[in-house]
């Protein structure tokens, strides 16, 4: 340990040295500023509508009656569907689906009108493709709603004809209703659902790789001894001085991300920006901690970067931000819990989306903080590697 008076001074020297490196190599500008900006611009503009609308859909009307055309018209009024074409047969429609021209189609059977009139229950069938999950699910939902409503309309006609009062009809058709409250995201917006964790996820990948790269480069360029010398041979000061400027920069990029999400796009933010900013700072530090851990374990730049890349990219799947962690095999639950992105995700769900009291997220803040401290016991390993200064291609 440096003495009390010289400690901050040495730290400052290492910080200055690091700042020189950051501005002298374009790769840092790219990975710290440009790459996150590209990702933000891409994901936020991609899903700006919240839900894809007017999905191309086809109708195979084998009846060609007034009633079947009326049913077709009901489909055209649904905002997520756009009836683009009409095909003469199931085969044609299926072919169009395979070619990617439509995401779903509905078949109205021949003698549809006559069967309704005669109470013979004509069967309407709809086909959706789940090879593309989001459009498939939206088509399914729209078809289901519309066919249910159409059937209800038919019942309503019968009941009216029997002379029932209009106010008595609805309770007969649908006695039990569900008053659905999608908490925090009543628009079912995919942008809110995905971007809140995908953007930090992408930032996480970049943090992992940049941190490992910047430490490994010292060994590769044979400057690690000089780096340690600047830090008065104190590995803790060396690491702190090197990473603090990056921590600040990455935190600013993360804060910019949150500013876009909660400020510009107005995504739900129940408990104010404070808890989220704190989570972002801890998230950045946690990933830096993991990065140092990797380079301590494998002082070969390539191996450590591969580990960091794997960790960052697999986080998207394993953190359970699209496919629920609870539905994965129990073996993976343990792995899920060791991902910083998982803890950031739960903090977001608690603090921004659901407005849960801070108390319930304490463990996840704690977990992120522990990650930041994780590499401390392993630093001597890194120090030895920095002294050896051997680059493995």
């Amino acid at each position: 340990m440096g003495t009390f008076t010289t400690g901050p001074k040495i730290l400052w020297q290492v910080i200055v040295r690091e700042l020189h490196q950051l501005v002298s190599r374009p790769i840092y500008l790219f990975s710290i500023v440009i790459a996150p900006l590209i990702s933000y611009a891409f994901f936020l503009s991609l899903m700006a509508n919240g839900l894809p609308e007017e999905l191309p859909t086809a109708v195979v009307d084998l009846d060609h009656s007034a009633t079947s055309r009326n049913l077709t018209r009901q489909f055209t009024t649904v905002s997520s569907l756009a009836i683009t074409t009409e095909y003469a047969s199931f085969y044609e429609a299926r072919k169009a689906m395979q070619k990617g021209e439509i995401f779903g189609f509905i078949i109205i059977p021949p003698s549809f009108e006559a069967d309704i009139m005669a109470n013979r229950q004509p069967e309407v069938s709809y086909y959706t493709t789940d090879a593309f999950l989001i459009p498939g699910a939206l088509e399914f939902r729209s078809f289901k709603t519309t066919t249910t409503l159409a059937a209800a309309a038919a019942v309503q006609q019968t009941l009216l004809a029997r002379g029932e009062y209009e106010r008595d009809i609805l309770p007969q058709i649908q006695p039990i209703t569900v008053d659905m409250h999608p908490l925090g995201n009543p628009w079912i917006s995919y942008s809110i659902y995905l971007n809140n964790t995908f953007l930090p996820g992408v930032l996480g990948v970049i943090i992992l790789l940049t941190t490992i790269f910047s430490i490994g480069s010292e060994i590769k360029r044979a400057t690690s001894r000089e780096w340690l010398k600047t830090a008065d041979d104190n590995i803790l000061l060396a690491i702190l001085g090197k990473l603090l400027p990056q921590t600040l920069l990455f935190f600013l990029m993360g804060a910019l991300c949150q500013l876009l999400l909660y400020g510009y796009f107005g995504f739900p933010l129940q408990n104010g920006i404070g808890p989220m900013l704190a989570a972002m700072l801890l998230f950045v530090m946690a990933l830096q901690g993991v990065s140092i851990f990797f380079i301590c374990m494998a002082p070969s730049l390539r191996i450590a970067l591969s580990m960091g890349g794997l960790f960052g990219v697999v986080s998207f799947s394993l953190a359970g931000i699209s496919f629920p962690a609870e539905a994965m095999y129990p073996t993976f639950h343990l792995l899920t819990d060791i991902l910083p992105l998982r803890h950031y995700f739960i903090i977001y769900a608690d603090q921004a989306l659901n407005g849960v009291p801070l108390y319930y997220s304490r463990i996840h803040y704690m977990a992120l903080f522990i990650y930041a401290l994780l590499p401390l016991p392993f630093l001597p390993l890194l120090k030895r590697a920095l002294h050896r200064q051997v680059y493995v291609a």
Binding site: R94, K99, Y127, T129, A131, G136, P175
Partner: protein, 412 residues
């Protein structure tokens, strides 16, 4: 005349063969390249397959606050519990108790049945139940929505039929369900997450591993100032840029034949994903995909000045390439800028074509569009690769010359 023509072809082929062989040596001596070309395409699909293998989400927990406490309200809870999609975790005394469970993330939804649930039904009024759903995961919400819709409609139908005293079951069915609708989910009947996302991931992994591998090789070449190998000591045969680019491309292409079979045939077969298309047609479709990815990677590789910086430049794009392919968000519903940029990425057309053929059973004729686009990209990136390599070689010669000049001046 004819003789000279044939000799030039012969020299050309020999030259390409020479570079091809040289590149093999370079690849197999480079642990980094081997990691990307072989370990990554081998391990990642297995890892993703294991993560997503449960395919569908079952038994999402919810809490019930039953203020009605009648036979009918209990029946509703029982049916919700019986559904494969959802399960009732707990019956809570009040909303606060249920909220506590939700705060702990033990359940993801709360069903509140009002005290007058039964009374309203008996009076012939519409009787609503209230559901609060956590929205952090849409797959959970989807399960809740489907179950609640089905249960409420089914129970409603039964209640309705009670009022039709003396009717036969057939008559009841006729009245309550005049237009029965049947849904068919094609190509991925369980709506499985793995069957949906893995085919697209395979294509993106294939492209990214190629770009990374080619990038790390090129970075090493640049770093160790070995660019002169591209044009020196090959006086016997012509120094043609086409030979250089083609020789390297054939090397990478040949390395990926086994990988393609493993990723696009064995992995879907092993994990029982939809596999409807003709495998030979899929391979035919993959030819331009591999070529365009190789030339895309070779073009990008001129930006790689250092072996390891390829990680920083390429890895984060994987998520973007996956999304821009239109597997989640329909391609033609994206902003035009991303459509244009996406059309320049081989994986966009690769995913489209492969998913259509493998998952939806389309023939290669049905994916004519993506297939031709990929050939277009192959030609485009072939030209850019040639330009990029010529530029790099010209730059290197230039550097040599200035170094040589400075050397001679120093020696004087």
């Amino acid at each position: 005349m004819g003789n000279r023509f044939f000799t030039s072809i012969k020299t050309g082929l020999a030259d390409i063969g020479y570079i091809w062989r040289k590149e093999y040596v370079a690849v197999f001596r480079d642990m980094g390249a081997l990691l990307f070309f072989f370990a990554l395409p081998f391990a990642y699909p297995l890892l993703y397959a294991f993560i997503y293998n449960p395919e569908a989400v079952y038994d999402v927990p919810l809490a019930v606050v039953d203020n009605s406490r009648t036979q009918l309200s209990r029946e509703m809870c029982r049916r919700i519990d019986a559904s494969p999609n959802t399960k009732v975790l707990s019956y809570c005394a009040n909303l606060d108790e249920a909220k506590e469970l939700m705060y702990q993330r033990d359940c993801f939804g709360i069903l509140e049945i009002p005290a007058d649930f039964d009374k309203k039904l008996a009076r012939g009024e519409q009787s609503p139940v209230v559901f609060y759903s956590d929205m952090s995961l849409l797959l959970n919400y989807k399960n809740f929505l489907i179950t609640l819709t089905d249960v409420s409609l089914d129970m409603g139908r039964e209640l309705q039929s009670r009022t039709l005293t003396g009717a036969t079951p057939a008559q009841i069915d006729m009245v309550t369900n005049p237009i029965p609708a049947f849904s068919f989910t094609l190509y991925n009947p369980t709506g499985g997450f793995a069957s949906f996302v893995i085919p697209a991931l395979l294509i993106v992994i294939m492209q990214q591993s190629l770009i990374l591998g080619i990038g790390i090789l090129a970075g090493g070449f640049y770093e160790h100032r070995k660019l002169r190998h591209y044009y020196q000591h090959r006086e016997k045969i012509r120094n043609n840029i086409l030979h250089l680019v083609l020789g390297k491309a054939i090397c990478y292409y040949s390395l990926y034949i086994v990988t393609t079979m493993y990723m696009l045939h064995i992995i879907p077969w092993l994990f029982d994903y939809p596999q409807l298309g003709s495998q030979w047609e899929i391979y035919a479709f993959m030819a331009p995909f591999l070529l365009s990815s190789i030339f895309f990677g070779m073009t990008l590789s001129v930006f790689v000045r250092e072996r390891e910086s390829v990680f920083l430049i390429i890895v984060f794009t994987s998520m973007i390439f996956l999304f821009i392919s239109g597997i989640t968000w329909p391609y033609d519903r994206m902003p035009v800028v991303w459509q244009v940029l996406g059309s320049l990425i081989p994986s966009t057309w690769g995913v489209e074509g492969f998913v259509r053929m493998n998952t939806e059973g389309a023939s290669i004729v049905d994916v004519k569009g993506p297939f031709l686009h990929l050939w277009g990209l192959t030609i485009f990136y072939f030209i850019t690769t040639c330009i990029a390599y010529s530029y790099q070689i010209w730059k290197d010669k230039q550097r040599k010359r200035t170094e040589a000049v400075s050397d001679t001046t120093e020696s004087k």
